[in-house]
Amino acid sequence: MDWAALRISLWLGTGTIVILLPFGVWFGRLLAVRNFRGKLLVEALVTVPLVLPPTVLGFYLLVTFGARSPVGQAFQALVGHPLPFSFQGLLLASAIANIPFVVQPVQRGFEAIPSTVREAAACCGLTPWQQFRRIELPLAWPGVLTASILAFAHTLGEFGVVLMVGGNLPGQTRTLSVAIYDRMQAFDDRSAGVMAATLLVISVATLMATTALSRRVSPSRG
């Protein structure tokens, strides 16, 4: 069992949520309540990581931020190491890959709130921020919760882009899913088996927790 890999996987999942959730809530709500020109294109762009192979994302990240590109060299001069093959690089890749998993449930959550509720809140003299915090966010909470769990679970399962952008560095970018592949290649089936089982248990537990939580949250408040 590679504990460092498990730790990195969990951090990556948590970090992805932390980075993505504020943006996801803001943007998902925007898509839910506003109509604007080009919305169709924006929604398609938000969803595109869902259908693109991870190699496409990996390719663009490596080409953009690799040591041979001007952007990559500027980043290296600024931070001291290149973005690919670092935990930060994985975080960025994971945040991009998870945009649809966060934005879509949030959008559905806010869409489910009738516009009359928002209008009533405004009539009561609530400022837009109070309206968002006291009325809309609690009502849309099941969507936000689903978004977080999906992003977390999906990050744990991410493999292709992690291997491409992260490069399987122990203690830095070797996540549990990559460690399984690494152990397989080293003919260490026993470790691979233990880690595969661990990942399976974590994933099932995560999804069970989502279902249980959303059941508790939605009927009483929704």
Partner: protein, 256 residues
Amino acid sequence: MFRRSILALLAVCVVGLPKAVAQRAPTIAAAANLNFALTEIARQFERDNGAHVDVVFSASGTLTRQIRDGAPFQMFLAADEEFPNQLTAAGLTRDAGVVYAIGRLVLFAPAGSPLTVDERLDGLSRLLKAGGVTRFAIANPDVAPYGRAAEAALRTRGLWDAIRSRLVLGDSIAQAAQFATTGNAVGGLIAYSLVKEPAFADKGKYALVPQADHPPLRQRMVLLKRAAPVVEQFYTYMQGAAARAVLVKNGYGVPE
């Protein structure tokens, strides 16, 4: 409650993240054929010198690409000379490095396979003509020197065109060996150093492919520009008697 838990999560993240990305032991990139030998040498090195190096195994071509894209490896042990020479030409290495081992290719057939192994690949040729070759494993010649050697050996015996559509390509020689040893292919051309591992003794039969059948697998290693003193030490250790003994035990030839 949920808002508070999110805040707690955030706090834990901010505090804990640096730990996850903290600097670790220096990392060395090595060709996948070294999987067993180098793991043993690194363990010996740690015992003799009290210093630890992390080794990442992959195909030489994959590692070369990663190093050119900025991967933080400090030393590179390749399966050929061409890939490290590319890095030297790109100005990423200390110097041109040194050949540390000469690899060998074997024809491997897992237990229960209809393939009979011999050094001239006659058994493979017969099985191919009889239509008995369902899948045959080699490493991807584009990224793995052992795959390139396998292609050359198959061409030498005039089997390349006939076997092409039956090939399964491993990402590295380790994956090719995995395909060949787990019975997912009737056999494969893989690294001698991998099948020589005691754990493989009961997995199948093999025959050494004559070195004249393919360009020699002269394996070169280079120190990269950022190599730390520990890694320089390991580079020297690799050329010493202890490391050479392990290489020979694992089926490599060593340079004079």
